[in-house]
């Protein structure tokens, strides 16, 4: 089977799998992401597709780690401080914002840097509201899942049509990004921006294209399209007026469309 056949097949299965949470009826607890209704292992083709998605997202994201490591050191952080941010903060937007503000304002700007990185981190908490049901984790696995809850792992996970694929996608992407991001941060902090601006290679656009491609198979019904469009419009309209991170969090209000009486 070639790649496009496989991709088509996965699209079909996503389409045919009417387990999408937004379609749940209020009465019957319809099957949904997080309820494992299909026993047995994931189909090998599907599995390869999820692995390929997760690993390519991890590679593209990891490449940014070099840049964040280099910027951290330029901003006045030590190599260790850069690495602690990547290991413990582990959410790229927040890391970039934090070092950007320290870089321009020094230690005196630390409260502003913490505020900015925290505002960009709020969306991860909102992702967790849905991922906890998909992943069904407890104890230390819950802490690990929370730590790996970022845009990339969420996107690969929630856009799969099968709950097993959702779990696999989350862990592969989360662990893949974690490993590559941290290695790249260390590399960038040690040798500087050896590869230059990631924009030169279009890596920022690669991220936009990847998130678009992940969302694509879900944009099949009018309600999901409406939620996506309203979310995007909210964020773009608010972008010039509000601090970084807040517009995307407020875009979550578009999800209320799914909660209307039916």
């Amino acid at each position: 089977m070639n790649r496009s056949e496989r991709s088509e097949r996965s699209e079909r299965s996503a389409q045919g799998c009417e387990v999408r949470p937004v379609e749940d009826s209020a009465e019957a607890p319809a099957p949904r992401l997080g309820d494992d209704h299909q026993p047995g292992p994931l189909d090998p083709g599907e599995r390869r597709l999820v692995l390929r998605q997760g690993l390519s997202v991890a590679l593209a994201t990891g490449a940014y780690g070099v840049s964040v490591g280099a910027l951290s050191v330029t901003a006045g952080l030590s190599v260790w401080q850069a690495c602690v941010l990547s290991l413990v903060m582990f959410t790229g937007g927040s890391h970039f914002a934090f070092v950007g503000i320290i870089g321009s304002g020094g230690v005196a700007a630390a409260p502003a840097a913490i505020a900015a990185s925290s505002m960009l981190g709020v969306r991860n908490g909102l992702y967790g509201l849905e991922l906890r049901r998909v992943l069904r984790v407890h104890g230390w696995r819950r802490a690990a899942a929370a730590h790996l809850t970022i845009d990339e792992s969420t996107a690969v996970s929630v856009t799969q049509g099968d709950p097993r694929a959702s779990r696999l996608g989350f862990w592969v992407t989360g662990v893949g990004v974690f490993v590559l991001w941290n290695l790249a941060t260390l590399l960038g902090a040690l040798v500087g921006d050896a590869f230059g601006d990631p924009r030169t290679y279009g890596l920022d656009a690669a991220a936009c294209a990847a998130f678009t491609a992940l969302l694509w198979p879900r944009l099949r019904d009018r309600e999901t399209v409406a939620i996506a469009v309203v979310g995007a419009v909210i964020a773009v309209v608010l972008l010039p007026a509000l601090p970084a991170g807040i517009p995307v969090v407020l875009a979550a209000l578009a999800a209320l469309i799914a909660g209307r009486r039916r």
Binding site: S7, L87, L129, A209, A213
Partner: protein, 104 residues
Amino acid sequence: MTLWVAVVVAALVAFALKLAGYLVPESALSHPRARRVTAAIPVAMLAALVATQTFGGPQGTLVVDARLAAVGVAVVALLLRAPFLLVVVLGAATAAALRALGWG
């Protein structure tokens, strides 16, 4: 506040925010409408993320540049049922090529 304190506080706040989503009491989310809403949140925010990453310029400005062209090419590729990896590579290549030509 030393830089180390700031680094550790910012990192721990980021982790606490992530964990908070997993610690909200199950009962608060079990109503069918609440379930539908929380299930739709990632789609709303990821679409918002694509939009802000595509149009966001420095200091909260909105700009149209090579990123929009890249997303356009990605959408065309998706309409033609291109596989995931090809869509991502085409997006990156579009932006890289336009920037090499001096636009965006």
